[in-house]
Symmetry: D2
């Protein structure tokens, strides 16, 4: 379960009957637009040179929504799986794909796991996150919090310059969700080239969240960045996370890394945002800025070495089936969703203290 | 609270009477050596050119340990604060240090926070984590799990080559906890130089954990890497985390990034460890390898711009007080501790399923 | 969410599309028999003079079960709602039924709740608990733990004598699930009489759980009896819970209330079971014995006084719709289920420590 | 851990160095009066013919309070143990007291438990609950919520009539905390008589909480009554809990048990309070009314039968040591405290939704 007040659990297997999500603790009256949800889900399902698997992406609202608004009781959102072909996956039970969860799944679940389509380790599981993210985004809009993500690196192609929130929103126009048109083209070339070679590409996506009040996060344990990390790690393929200038901060001196406080129109802000909107585990009012590194998809058509776990011998393997050459563009709306889920939770926690402080004025 | 079976909460302020930790769910019979604990705490308190504040680092075992072993009931470990000088911090209530939590603390806690010595945002809070980590390490030894960390970067000085677990253990001999003697010297120079200039340095530490069984981690939500991230974020100053090849994986092709399965002495292992010991949120039997980026200490003697929150005007600030020029060397034992805490929790969860599977054989 | 290792969340509204349950943390390999589940659900749906609403009670396994066994990943079980008639409930939005949750629901959920059929406050929600209970019972069988419940009081008709576990199992033959044939008849008369008068009856059910090892429960906070209480309170209509001799113990002296330890075949047992199988929040190896008081169904056809919340005036109300005259007989399998859920959780926690203690023997 | 927003964990053993409590999630600015806390603790330590063990009941505030107010960060409150005599308890390791946790403790904790003075199973542990309760009460006062408890039964002496909140407050004047002077005398006689005979007495205490808004409680799982039960079960010796008319409701018809809604000064209230202030797991605005049954203290000087676990033979036992003849009077402030802890948690959850609903008006 993610969250304390806004609590989210996902379930479902890639080739089982459905995937979905349970949301507990959402306050009543939050607008749930099926159209919005569907749009977000279509964003998730559409990538550049992505798997040809086509889902209808129609959400079945099983509970917790009445007359278009949340009721305040548990919400379940379901997405039927269809267009599945489980055949190519049979061999991975005995011959695990290098870099994939096939091997750990077999050992951990003692052979009882549903391996078809990668089971719970499939990107399909993220559809539930996106459905939940749509509710979270609707909730956050009430406070004026908005979230957008974009692709900033595919393979060795990198967007070096900073992007404003509005620029990031325009990334949606690019097939790889990169807001820089030049880099967008290069990224497509990289993905196409890797794909032609039967290979796959990694990359980096960046998430921005704006409109946060100062004060989200509950250190020492429930830091905002810690909870964001845990939620982001639910997304398959993540191998690194950084906030603000992240790993580049390791090279800096304090005098370079610190964001000076200044007054703008009588309000306290920071002149720079190297901290990425979070200090000491608490939002500081500046945009939250997170960069997430994705490994290249482990399922590739190139020949790889693996072990046959039944016969216990080294063998070679080419992964048949339908895979994304690069998951980063499709991960963009998923990252927005998990960030929205965490912010919704911390917003509700923060609102409680705000309201409590008002009691004191009586 | 961190954890589900082995649950850890920290408390205490830098200049309050004490810092400490509560551990719940620890099984009975785990050896608790006060000597071990003290040694770990001394590792934490000793850094290169670190704060001259000197604590006795004597742990007061308030509950949950009897005759040198855990009882199975809640454990509380306390460390008295002493040698405190709160005076230099008074000004930070109104004039927050750039890059520090002074500002967010004042807003979030509505002025009720204990600002002295940085309060809960001080590195002092990590003493509780180290005390808990000592218990977790003792627990993990029963399964043969060992953890070691070292400094791999200070400023622009970087250790490029891979280190084995045994090499990492030798990092303890270096004043900056870097296992490469050459780089160790350069790191000391960098820290000294920054300090002379009234500035501070960032860096990167790496943690290795060996001896894990295949199967720790409970995806989709409670992934091993996600829980590790959340715990690591409790450590002050962390701005980035990566597993295995991390951000470098974003540049790779799948064929480069995947770790081939091979047989060694009839056992399935991976030929490389680019995944850092975790696939799909579950330990894969290879060493868990995590790299953590630390920002430079925000408290510096150089002049910086800030805002006086009472008079609402821009002012300049030089941070008086005792600060570490670079916290990375001191963070090394802290990172080992938070990793140990998470692994202890996931080990206990895993043991439950192991035992349950044995019931089936009856 | 109930539980720490075996975690259960329920969802769904009476007249929404479905009700259901999410189970997280269930180990892999637990047999899930759709036939067993259906039998338990039919037990729940069948009562004496109960609501004529007829559901198919077919469980849709949405995730977490593969080839008849649990996979170790989240399980979702769904039950479609059908045969619903929401019309009679419309009036309760403005004119709340005395004794019912109509009023608190309107205020708490600010009017956004789904009131149809009582929404989440309907007994229908317990179908999800029973589905989860069926999985929990299957898990518990591996340890030899069995659970049975029966009706011991309806109105003023009371079963005074103690029943053995085997006798309790025979309660299933009675239309009111009372193992005493004489009292069973009297209970039916009481229910019929109340029903004829447009009224409803309360009662008491007793749950027995046998085969528990000594040691389930994690005081000081997660006591076995405390976790049982919390789970039992999820069942609608519960107003009292007691363990062993319960409230009668308040009248006793210590010398009467204490269960003497004796040897039977060389094993330590208690001669009596006034404590109801739990001491200090921990199972003591004797049968766990719980008695649960249910209020009479608040929805009655007799005229009652209430307030019209829209016009703000006192009015009289007769509840139209389909209600159970007495829910106690139908609550019997539900109580078994919630007890099974809690015991499954504590069993998994206990198994972890058992396995850990074996590591020590290496 | 109890609670979601206001989270409480207790720790400590009877004859260890201290007992105490950790509170997380308490908002900043709540007044913490050491005098209040001490008064509550003295109430807990004073009973009629209770253990002669005398503690100073001075709370050591280890963290989370600054200048007399909570800081918003984790609070730890400690109470030193003193005046301990562990000698009489040595025998209970091998010869468990009937009715006591000695036996289950030895098995569950595999002999590693701290048995001295009953360890964590001692009533001493409740001092931490009372310290936390004092903070919770202070928090609740800001919303106008007040709590009071009293003794309503000792042995066969029962207070039959209903008491108003103000009457209950006067129970403090009675040595057994019974608000009826006549019954108070009879209760003292019962306790004295049992004590003379080397025996102990059980009883029942009632808790009232007034001033709650409509809407505390989060069904279906986190019901207000369920969370209250779980917290109450932390108090040693509880064997039964009922809300409102509780077990007596089992005898009633719906028409008798339902509380009619009426208008009083234009406000909706209930004419009676048989439901005890809770419907459907949610507070209904009427006083919350809970009755709690306590078993007689298991430690008695009368000869009892037990088993020597080392020599495996039946033996007889007289419990030496200092015990309360009846714990009910001393449990009164403890019950108030655990109820306050649960209400504080649910109040904070409720305030979050209240504040969120205000965002919508923008």
């Amino acid at each position: 379960m993610l969250g304390v007040m806004f609590r989210v659990s996902v379930f479902g297997e890639s080739h089982g009957p459905c995937v979905g999500v349970l949301i507990e603790g959402c306050p009543p009256g939050v607008e749930v637009s099926e159209e919005d949800m569907r749009r977000e889900l279509l964003r998730r399902s559409k990538g550049f040179m992505s798997t040809p698997r086509k889902e209808k992406e129609e959400v079945f609202i099983a509970s917790g929504v009445f007359r278009g608004k949340t009721t305040g009781t548990p919400i379940v959102l379901l997405l039927r799986n269809s267009d599945v072909n489980s055949k190519p996956y049979e061999v991975f039970r005995r011959r695990p794909r290098p870099g994939h969860a096939d091997y750990v799944a077999r050992i951990k679940y003692m052979g009882y796991h549903d391996h078809r389509g990668g089971g719970i380790f499939s990107g399909r599981i993220t559809a539930g996150l996106v459905a939940a993210g749509s509710v979270a985004k609707s909730l956050l809009r009430r406070q004026g919090i908005r979230i957008a993500a974009h692709t900033v690196q595919i393979g060795k192609v990198r967007v070096e310059r900073e992007m404003s929130f509005d620029e990031v929103l325009r990334a949606e126009e690019s097939p790889v969700r990169c807001a820089d048109p030049e880099k967008s083209r290069e990224m497509m070339e990289e993905i196409a080239k890797a794909s032609e070679e039967g290979d796959s590409s990694g990359g980096v996506a960046e998430v921005l969240a704006v409109g946060l009040p100062v004060g989200l996060g509950e250190p020492p344990i429930d830091t905002l960045d810690g909870d964001l990390c845990k939620a982001i790690m639910v997304v398959p393929g993540v191998k690194g996370i950084e906030f603000g200038d992240g790993f580049r901060m390791a090279e800096m001196r304090g005098s370079e890394a610190n964001d000076p406080f200044v007054l703008r129109d009588g309000k306290v802000v920071m002149e720079t945002n190297r901290s990425g909107g979070i200090n000491g585990g608490i939002s500081n009012g500046m945009p939250v800025k997170i960069r997430v590194a994705f490994r290249p998809t482990p399922s590739i058509r190139k020949e790889q070495r693996t072990v046959d776990l039944d016969s216990v011998e080294e063998v070679s393997l080419r992964a048949e089936g339908r895979y994304d050459s690069c998951i980063v563009p499709r991960a963009v709306p998923v990252l927005e969703s998990v960030v929205a889920i965490v912010l919704a939770d911390h917003l509700l926690r923060w609102l409680s203290w705000m309201k409590f402080s008002e009691l004191g004025t009586k």
